[in-house]
């Protein structure tokens, strides 16, 4: 494994399957992320992260590296302009581990170029997205619009 640049953790009072669905179902991600994550989620498939506003602007793209529901999802993660340049793809690993009736969701982001636009963006983004996801699953309402 590469040495990750960032490791984010949140504990969520929900079953692992619900947390998994909240990562891969466009109608769920739209609620707390204002973006739809779209793919068939099979290893090797393309995925995209697009605005849930009318214009459906695609903001991120990548490939599904590994998908083991409801425990582990590994994606490459890039700006659309860099889709054909694998060296520019960063990598995100989601791990869902049940602990004492709740789940520990870990998001590991690696292969980031220090100081890059992606590096700056995700530092601001992940804490917001994870707090909003936790709020949605535990209280039924997400945080107000994040972006």
């Amino acid at each position: 494994m590469d040495k990750p640049e960032f490791v984010y953790v949140t504990y969520i009072a929900a079953p692992p399957e619900k947390v998994w669905d909240a990562l891969i179902k466009p109608e769920a991600t739209a609620k707390y992320w204002q973006h739809e994550n779209v793919s068939d989620w099979k290893p090797g498939s393309r995925w995209e992260h697009r605005s849930s506003e009318k214009d459906r602007t695609v903001r991120l793209v990548g490939k599904v590296v590994e998908s083991s529901p409801p425990r582990r999802l590994v994606l490459t993660w890039a700006f659309p302009a860099d889709e054909a340049r694998p060296e520019k793809h960063t990598r995100v690993t989601f791990e869902i581990v049940p602990v004492g009736g709740v789940v520990r969701l870990t998001v590991t982001h690696d292969r980031l170029e220090p100081g890059s636009e992606m590096d700056r963006g995700i530092r601001e983004g992940w804490p917001k997205v994870l707090s909003s996801l936790k709020s949605l699953l535990e209280t039924g309402s997400a945080l107000p619009k994040l972006w």
């Binding site: 490791v7 953790v9 504990y11 004492g100 009736g101 870990t106 804490p127």
Partner: protein
Amino acid sequence: MTGKYLLAYSRASVDIDRLLRAIANPARRRLLDRLRARNGQTLAELCRHLDMTRQAVSQHLERLEEVNLVTTVRRGREKLHYLNPVPIHEIYERWIEKYERQRLEALRDLRKRLEGEDDG
């Protein structure tokens, strides 16, 4: 939330008093600052240039890990420490409303421009 999850949640979720007590210590804040400057350090790296014993640093890191402000990853024989700002974001969200947030972010950006990037 069903009863089963509620019970477990009260154990696993971080108590806000414990979180604030963990931050209310200059040595622990320094450790968080060092991780913010460079994420993913080992205990030995964190001890360098710090006026604390290895044992003290190790205990502070444990406290920070208990409240989920620090997470660790094992890589071979090394244990790497990461700053996890998610619980701080949850506190922030508790008292700051959407519209205030935009104004506060604008103020923060203005202050940064006027004072330079260094937050001191």
